[in-house]
Amino acid sequence: MTVDTQIGQQQDRYTVADAPPRTLRDWLLRWETILVILLVLTVVVNTIVSPYFLDVFNLADATFNFSEKAIIALAMALLILVREIDLSVAAIVALASMSIGYAAEAGYGPASLFAVGIGVGILCGVFNGAVVTFFRLPSIVVTIGTMSLFRGITQVILGDQAKTKYPQGFLDLGQSYFIKMKETGISWLFVPPVPLSFLIFLVLAVLFGIVLHKTAVGRQLFAIGSNPVAARFSGVPVDRLRFLLFVLAGLLCGLAAALLTARLGSMRSNIAIGWELDIVTMVILGGVSIAGGVGSITGVFLAVLVLGLVTFGMSLNNIPGQVVSVYIGALLIAVIGIPRIIEKFRR
């Protein structure tokens, strides 16, 4: 049964036929449509339940809590798209954040601190990518190893210490709104306050969307995810792209580490612990197939907003974090499972 369907899917994927014209039903069953409905539901329910939900400043503050993860999720989406995964992202954040802490103590300014974080992130990404592509190892195992290694190095160097001295200019970048609220005199027309991390996420999401969906490199990533061997035979530099994606993930982890450190104003060796699973959840909920070759940045973007707003709405109603994670876990299973159940009954 399972084998039959697998073979069936492969034939579908590899026979080159004209795409059938899009019907309304196809459009309704698209992943992004489901996510938009979920997003609207989340906003409506939260607005009814709590009067504080639809407040511009509250919403702006809510973005603080997921923007750093969301930035990393963009790179993770590309990795999962090409059948790889990076479980070491949270550990890279820790290592980069610690380096920023030491650099700050040495008296570097905000720009240098961001550069230090990004530099360390890139180094970690290069290490991951090199081990995966050079030794041809499954990335899930390699990054479980480097997850321990990077976080372990942080623990060895830092012990039970915390890094708390940062220049004020650096802290301001993480803690205040990058774009200030501007009233225009008309009640519904205003410039909303936007934190730096969310602004960076928005810009990167657009950038990633263009690269993935509108350029040759993006098509090559889909090709690798659908069939790495065929992609290689078609002249796609599979290993180079894989390597670069790990480096990219490291880079964004470094950037996220800088933003997170600036926001918290202190770091310990357990910073960002468990983030890898949150980030993978964002990507999978965004409709990126864990088997590779399927996914869109729009989906990931919507999933990030859904998860962020669900978490924010629940915390407004004093629901503890771990209970929120029950809903998110159930949401993940439901969103993946329900289309499959419908599919089963239709046959």
Partner: protein
């Protein structure tokens, strides 16, 4: 039996023996029976959890929810001990196992019947199981003083020179060995993992196999949940947080291939033992425990690199006869 240890496992065993001897030379106290017994008791949960995870990985699956399952099942067992202290110990343990088994059944059913990718499914249930502890208890924890005395003392009891967790680990390991080597279903797991299409043509029901492995993983997590909670005398939502990755690491060090179809009981036990030694040797060597994670990470990387080199064979031979023919 002559092939109980293959070359790679023999090498790993050798590394372990040399390592333990070296630590013993440096700190003779490490080789004292009391310390070794402590170490094995401490590692017994990892032994069993790693074996259960290995069986899942054999079928090309992965179970990230085992540690959350352990925490929830252990919590259920602790709650029974708190509110129904008169229930016999065996029933409490069985309740833990049963709870774990049901949670595993949930994983297995949705993975096998709906075809949800295992990593997605168990990532979801990981969050659900842990959160359930908060929902059931409203954030409370069960402390040592609230658990029954027999409930807590059982893992500390010594029987024929070994503590009960070690005995349980021995029995469970033996069961796994018999299951994987002597039963048709067990051999079928290797077939499913090695080549699902071929296994299907051989008439092996892949979905039944998948259901079975997650149920096994769940039941073992339940048993370990009881042992964990009783041994450390506390049950709350954070116990064994992140332990799923330690368990997978033990499998990887023991030579289990994440691609499925490759792995043995002996190798996995050695992998778990390796991590157990690293964790207990550091305090004895007076090295800061902060080194533990970095060392495990380096060992995992070294193990996967070495295993990958050993695995690079031209093709896979299933029958021993074929191997002999090939040599000629």
């Amino acid at each position: 039996m002559s092939r109980l240890l293959n070359y790679r496992e023999a090498a790993l065993a050798l590394v372990l023996i040399v390592g333990v001897a070296a630590i013993g030379l440096y700190q003779p106290v490490f080789l004292e029976w009391e310390n070794l017994s402590d170490m094995l008791t401490e590692t017994s949960v990892l032994f069993m959890m790693a074996l259960a995870q290995m069986v899942v990985i054999l079928t090309r699956g992965i179970d990230l929810s085992v540690a959350a399952n352990l925490a929830l099942s252990g919590f259920v067992a602790a709650l029974i001990s708190q509110y129904f202290p008169d229930v016999p110990l065996l029933l409490m343990v069985l309740a833990g196992i049963g709870c774990g088994l049901l949670l595993g059944l949930l994983n297995g059913a949705l993975i096998a019947w709906l075809g949800i990718p295992p990593i997605v499914m168990t990532l979801g249930t990981l969050a659900v199981f842990r959160g359930m502890i908060i929902i059931i208890a409203g954030g409370d924890q069960v402390n040592a003083s609230e658990m029954g005395v027999t409930f807590q003392n059982f893992p500390k009891e010594i029987f024929l020179g070994l503590t009960t967790p070690i005995w349980i680990a021995i029995v469970v390991s033996a069961l796994f060995w018999v299951f994987l080597n002597m039963t048709r279903t067990g051999r079928g797991l290797y077939a499913v993992g090695g080549n699902p299409v071929a296994a299907r043509y051989c008439g092996i029901d892949q979905r039944r196999q998948e259901l079975l492995v997650y149920v096994i993983a769940g039941a073992v997590s339940g048993l370990c949940g009881y042992l964990w909670v009783a041994r450390y005398g506390v049950a709350y939502s954070e116990i064994a947080n992140g332990y799923e990755l330690t368990v997978i690491a033990a499998c990887v060090i023991g030579g289990v291939s994440i691609g499925g179809g490759v792995g043995s009981v002996a190798g996995t036990l050695l992998g778990a033992l390796f991590l157990g030694i690293v964790m207990t040797a550091l305090p004895v060597m007076q090295i800061s425990p902060f080194w533990q994670m970095a060392i495990s990470g380096a060992v995992i990387l070294a193990a996967v690199v070495i295993n990958a080199r050993a695995e690079r064979r031209p093709d896979k031979l299933i029958l021993p006869e074929a191997r002999r023919l090939k040599r000629v």
